[in-house]
């Protein structure tokens, strides 16, 4: 498959956005959707719709099979050992809340410590913060270095005998740093520490092999992975998912309900209470096929070339300051322009059809550390081209002109 033709598979790029061609550089926020995924949702609702796992009529059985089929595809895609290690959630946020909540209920005691990093997205901090109050848990942060990376040493020196969980992102949504998950897991497991990975930026852009990474949990956001919104995935090692208590109660997650006692269903039903995002799950199978057809190695190569080109272009542009310079970097390029607030940058770029994100990108801890209130961020997906960065640069020059910068 030719990477140049991939853009054609995304109908949004046929649209004019305020009379401009769309230059979409906001995939770290959410990716655009290929036609196969959009069509699958339509087809399911049009021809095949039923709820799953409840009724025994034809449509219900067929829908259940399709739903479970995606679970198997995800299992294969991330190389999980067991299909039942894949739990569908409403998003990566819910996946991380599930882990923090259930570990808090069953595994963590007063005074235990959780180690995060300064690069964490709020969704991998706030759920743990709840345990500060409810369980008197202490939260520590491994520091970034000057390049915006988290070297393994910075994790190691924050580990204490009380550290029970290390929760880290796989790929930073601000600096683009790729964290050494395998090394972190080796180190953590040698000390009996659980590793939880926020894989929101990792799963769409890196090769994911959860057995090789050996992490205990891995959270995925499907809408950042060319899939529908309202859907996330939690991978958890079977021993943990079996041992930990359910997260939400409701239909579908029980075995037996009596007036005086309730027993819970087996995996993965135990964690999938209520009617799930059925159409999204079924359509997500197409997202995985889409990624498999291109091949993750090709995606990695393409995005690496793009971001290297983007850095090269922006480095030549004086007044642009790129945030972080990690050796191992994914497709995220955050920057500031001296004298122009990121929101003004975003508004001016938008006028040219260039969609970026401005703000703290749900990483206030990191922005505080960098002593900036906000930054602008360009992030890539499979459909981006070098020309997108040329246009970004041109629009940045327009900003500079408006703000009278040299």
């Amino acid at each position: 498959m030719n990477i140049d033709n991939i853009k054609k598979e995304f109908p949004i790029f046929d649209e004019k956005i305020q009379n401009n061609d769309l230059v979409y550089l906001d995939s770290a926020n959410s990716s655009q959707k290929p036609k196969v995924v959009i069509d699958r949702i339509n087809e399911f609702y049009t021809k095949q719709f039923s709820n799953v796992g409840r009724s025994i009529h034809y449509l219900a059985v067929a829908a259940t099979n399709l739903y479970e089929n995606t679970r198997s595809s995800v299992q294969k895609y991330i190389n999980a050992k067991d299909k039942n290690e894949i739990v569908f959630t409403k998003g990566a946020t819910e996946a991380l809340n599930l882990v923090a909540n259930t570990l808090g209920q069953k595994y963590l005691d007063e005074g235990d410590e959780i180690l995060l990093t300064e690069l964490e997205h709020h969704s991998n901090y706030v759920p743990w913060h709840y345990l500060r109050k409810s369980k008197n848990i202490k939260i520590n942060f491994a520091e970034i270095n000057d390049q915006g990376e988290i070297p393994i040493e910075n994790i190691e020196k924050m580990i204490t005998p009380k550290t029970k969980v290390i929760a880290v992102n796989h790929l930073s949504n601000v600096t683009g740093a790729i964290l050494p998950i395998k090394e972190i897991t080796e180190l953590a497991h040698s000390k009996g520490i659980i590793v939880v990975v926020d894989g929101c930026q990792g799963a769409p852009h890196l090769k994911i092999d959860v057995q090789d990474l050996d992490c205990d949990f891995y959270a995925i956001s499907c809408h950042k992975m060319y899939g529908p919104t309202g859907l996330g995935i939690l991978y958890g090692k079977k021993k943990w998912l079996e041992e930990l208590p359910p997260y939400q109660g409701g239909g579908g997650m029980i075995k037996e309900v009596k007036k005086d006692r309730i027993t819970y269903g087996d995996l993965p039903n135990k964690y999938e209470a209520g009617t799930m995002a059925t159409a999204q799950v079924i359509a997500f199978d197409q997202s995985i096929k889409f990624l498999e057809n291109i091949g993750i190695e090709n995606i990695i190569k393409h995005e690496k070339e793009l971001i290297e080109y983007g850095q090269e272009v922006l480095r030549k542009n004086n007044s642009v300051k790129i945030i972080g310079n990690p050796k191992n970097k994914g497709g995220v390029l955050s920057f500031t322009i001296e004298g122009v607030h990121p929101h003004d940058i975003a508004t001016i770029l938008d006028e040219d059809g260039v969609a970026i994100r401005a703000g703290h990108h749900c990483c206030q801890i990191l922005h505080d550390k960098l002593e900036i209130p906000a930054s602008a961020r360009a992030s890539v997906g499979v459909y981006n081209t070098k020309e997108d960065f040329d246009q970004l640069n041109e629009s940045i020059n327009k900003c500079k002109k408006i703000f009278d910068l040299k």
Partner: protein
């Protein structure tokens, strides 16, 4: 949409060199405001004297050109007004940003009204309206002195 209307000369100038920036020493009322979505924050300080007149007003904060210019112009225009006049100006400004095509109040002089109307460009940018109004809502909170922190997300 028109960037020239949004980033008028006067906005860029006030954004770059905001008036009344800093914490005035003799304030007796203040309030904080923030926009959690973008991290913008503002702290408005004012001295309301015994004659219910705004004797001094200033602000601290960081934000985009629109929010800094809006706070700067606001403090400039509110200084020296009675609390009732200030309230009328605030209401008039917020009404103009929200729906009215022009300012209605006659308290401000024509050239001051022109300054304020420079902020009307945000009406075409719904995501930026909050940038222009945050300091004004914060001023209301300070005047009412209820100590309530203003958030754009409530």
């Amino acid at each position: 949409m028109n960037l020239k209307e949004l980033y008028q000369e006067i906005i860029l100038e006030h954004g770059k060199n905001p008036r009344n920036l800093g914490k005035t020493n003799n304030f007796n009322k203040d309030a904080k405001g923030n926009n959690p979505l973008c991290g913008d924050n503002v702290h408005v300080y004012l001295k309301l004297n015994d004659q219910r007149k705004v004797e001094d007003i200033s602000f601290e904060g960081s934000g985009c050109a629109i929010s800094m210019a809006s706070a700067s112009i606001m403090t400039d225009l509110i200084k020296g007004k009675s609390d009732n006049e200030a309230k009328e100006i605030i209401e008039d400004f917020l009404g103009m940003i929200k729906e009215n095509p022009a300012l209605k109040s006659n308290i401000l002089k024509e050239d001051d009204k022109t300054k304020l109307m420079c902020l009307s460009g945000v009406k075409q940018y719904p995501m930026r309206v909050k940038c222009a109004t945050l300091s004004w809502h914060t001023l209301v909170s300070a005047m009412e002195n209820n100590g309530k922190e203003i958030s754009t997300e409530e």
